[in-house]
Symmetry: C2
Subunit: 362 residues, 2 copies
DNA sequence: AGCCTGTATCGAATCGATTCGATGTGTTTC
DNA sequence: GAAACACATCGAATCGATTCGATACAGGCT
């Protein structure tokens, strides 16, 4: 019966051959065949050749990654968790830059990047995808049960931004103090009526005027910190919450904030450069001159195509470097090390989109 | 001794608990514990509760994905292979749109997307990543050994564009005939000196003037087909090969093509909208009026931020729909079906970037 | 009472490879 | 010529779960 099974395994066209089948055909043991596929093991060249030939003849595709990863305890996969649909995540140049640095730093692991959308609902994948480590990009490492599940799994877990949490290595940015610098710049220029265009505060993702309730219910560390930085200087600034860092969202926000000529702000603090670009576009449409009638500052320091001739006043953050640091940390943790968290700082860039507020005639 | 091991497994802080440990603690068999984690199985509510409680007490994170995927033969991962560095892939709005449709269509699989860069060199991941299916986006399904390895693995394999190959389900686009339509449009307007700005022809990725040698050595189906479509109408068109679909690359190409005022083309066929945007930008810089002095057509039909006031004449392709079709095909193949390949067509969009060529005085 | 049905649970085989310790063979060294 | 050694190869245990067929038991039926 064993014989029959062996034959059927080797000959039935549907079933993929296994390493055992290859070994049998090459006339070596299971273990030797396995060794032959590695590069290191003590195998004679002749034997290795024989095994590889047998593999070729059987059309064997190499050791099954599933079995290999069970036995080895490593799967060669690093999970990247984003708190939105995958499609939206990749419209954000900052996230792309982070992934860029990340993939560069983990290149030595020879691992693939598994995209996981932590949209709250279908978080099935994220809890039972096999990965060797996970990176949270712009998600809250606390509060979240998927994240808790990953942590329980005991794999290295790093977060780009987001407040510190147990067992999560956080790479943070000076969101609050950097925004404060920008706000102080505006105040020094003489601005008093300032409005804020905010990134989403939670996963709700509707746009709305900023209210204390929304603010209190917020979970997005990045948005809240930048908000706090602005509030440090302009405690009463009004604001508008967008659904994401997109140019169109900035336009929508600016339309709402600039609607009433009486109460119109003289400056807008946008929480991202894309939002700022949208604000400027809206101002153009409304015939409001930037920076003469409206000053605009952004955040991120990404080059926005088509913003010319404007050179946005903004806070340049080292996004690629953040990703790289996270990647390096993962490599170190997988090697058994215990790297330290790191805080990154943004640099104020003075462009030509900020100026003194217009002097208002009596 | 067995006893000792069991104890050490349950108590040593480093080792993660296994399902067996949970079962033992709950006083049920291994198999019952497994059943308790599924939703379907015939388990009494009381037992399930007991198992889940034991799991909680042991801080068990749920069945190990590696073991599960070995046993089940499914890993819940769909590989996405792109022929460039991951960072570059995501700068291309068409690839993003494809991924978008893809992730939408495979949502029912509850699978994650594994990014794999087929850069020729470090193709280690792509050959031994565990995945249930693979999608090639803009890679040649022939010629490539990594792809051959995937095929040998016997998993569903679909390709977005690229010439047909055995065992690969291809979703194609009418690259050639669509480009021909654009070229005919230019000829109808009276253009005779036309230049082409081409996507990369192979993985070499250097920019250079287009030569017959480069063309003959090309492996990128998409670029070659679009080239052929242009050549159907303007057999002698000169061209410039870029390193990718980026605005800057279009600018570089246009600078090269527009350098000599004597031989300057009156129209440029760009193989992507981003390239076309770069061409227009270069023309602006050089003081060449579009469309009065230079007509420009693109390909893709993506909205390029900052191209305003231009409305690019282009070929709009159903990128999201291509991704969706690929995703649906994968779902069907994993269910044992044999879906048919599909050919998509692009739609000519007449914008304001094409016009009659300037009448050349005496 | 005897028989049958259905359900909850269990045992054991299985998925496909890796790896450790053991074995056997061939070569060097004194 | 025997002891020591290096090296290739092999057997068997192992990774951690899933699943199929068997079992036991409770209740319903005639």
């Amino acid at each position: 019966m064993t014989e029959v099974n062996e034959l059927s395994n080797e000959h039935s066209p549907g079933a993929r051959p296994t390493l055992a089948a290859v070994a049998r055909r090459a006339g070596v043991s299971n273990s030797t065949a396995s060794l032959a596929f590695g590069t290191a093991g003590p195998v004679s060249d002749a034997t290795r050749e024989r095994v590889l030939t047998a593999a070729r003849e059987l059309n064997y595709a190499g050791p099954d990654p599933r079995a290999r990863s069970l036995r080895r305890g490593r799967s060669g996969i690093v999970g990247v968790v984003v708190e939105e649909r995958v499609r939206d995540a990749f419209r954000d140049p900052i996230k792309l830059a982070v992934m860029d640095g990340l993939s560069e730093a983990i290149a030595s692991l020879d691992a693939g990047l598994l995209l996981l959308a932590d949209t709250g609902a279908a978080s099935a994948h994220i809890e039972d995808a096999s990965m060797d480590a996970a990176v949270l990009i712009g998600c809250s490492p606390r509060l979240n049960e998927s994240v808790a599940a990953i942590r329980r799994r005991g794999i290295p877990l790093v977060a780009i931004e987001g407040e510190p949490a147990d067992g999560v290595l956080v790479f943070s940015l000076d969101n609050r103090s950097a925004t404060r610098v920008a706000a102080e710049h505006l105040r020094a220029l003489g601005h008093e009526r300032v409005a804020i265009v905010s990134l989403p505060l939670d996963r709700g993702r509707r746009h709305a005027m900023l209210t204390p309730e929304l603010e209190a219910a917020g979970t997005s560390n990045t948005a809240l910190e930048r908000l706090a930085g602005a509030r440090d200087v302009f405690p009463d600034a009004i604001g508008f919450v967008t659904t994401g860092s997109f140019v169109e969202e900035g336009t929508i926000a600016a339309r709402a904030l600039l609607a009433d000529p009486e109460t119109r702000p003289t400056a807008i603090i946008a929480q991202s450069d894309l939002l700022a670009a949208g604000v400027i576009r809206a101002a153009e449409d409304l015939g409001i001159a930037v920076p003469a009638e409206l000053s605009v500052v952004g955040f991120d320091g990404v080059r926005v195509d088509g913003l010319w001739p404007y050179d946005l006043t903004t806070l340049a953050q080292p996004a690629v470097e953040k990703g790289r640091a996270a990647g390096r940390a993962i490599v170190e943790m997988l090697a058994g090390g215990h790297p330290d968290p790191l805080a990154f700082t943004s640099e104020f860039h003075l462009g030509n989109t900020t100026a003194h507020p217009p002097s208002i005639p009596g």
